[in-house]
Symmetry: C2
Subunit: 110 residues, 2 copies
DNA sequence: GTCTTATATAAGTATATAATTATATAATGA
DNA sequence: TCATTATATAATTATATACTTATATAAGAC
């Protein structure tokens, strides 16, 4: 059970098509920024700025690997259960991720 | 299972402390505008405008009774299940409603 | 009819948000 | 070292949002 305010903050964060999609993607697999750029067909700064908001609120974590920064959902977040029950209502993004894999993820990031 | 965009719209609507609280209240009991004004301690136009957004998106319904307009959650909304699974994570607003009842709802609305 | 109460809407203002473009940083590899 | 790639940040702009104040509408009481 969360506070109303805390919950509203999470909902506001996920109440944006781009961030909700990013969250749904990360719920399937970790991704680096350029993969998200490729899937979402948006500019790199726009994606970075959305990731920043998610990170500032602790919803995602970042891990640096060579020149890439991989983002993942923060399963330790207090609101993770809320996020999961929301994601249960939206289609998973397997297709998008598979499409990316077929193009060769490497080609995208290198 | 909803579309990402549709879900984002709902989350954005509920991603506001006032609207989330109104929704949580209406999940307990129907309310007229002046009751919400009393509970939320906000101006009447502010409450009306939030109710308008909720109504425009079909989340709430209104019923006129004499000079009052009672609002209720629209259980027929496609996203009602999503809304319920979100509300399951926030405290119900029984206390606020009870506090209002003790003051005498009649006194508030007349 | 007029007065009061409940609610809605309009106009204005201040702030927040999302995007773009340009630039900075950081890591890799030649 | 320099060039390239990946990512972040800053500055700007356009739009959206939440609220206030003032006013309109609608219903009931008198």
């Amino acid at each position: 059970m969360y506070h109303i305010e805390e919950t509203a903050t999470i909902l506001k964060l996920l109440g944006d098509k781009t961030r909700l999609t990013i969250t749904a993607i990360l719920n399937e697999t970790d991704c680096c920024v350029c993969e998200l750029v490729d899937i979402l067909q948006m500019s790199q700064p726009a994606i970075s700025q959305h990731l920043r908001k998610l990170k500032d609120n602790g919803l995602v974590k970042e891990t640096k690997k060579a020149q890439w920064v991989f983002y993942s959902l923060n399963k330790q977040h207090v609101c993770y259960p809320l996020i999961q029950s929301i994601l249960a209502h939206v289609p998973n993004q397997r297709e998008e991720i598979d499409r990316l894999a077929q193009k060769g993820i490497r080609m995208v990031c290198e």
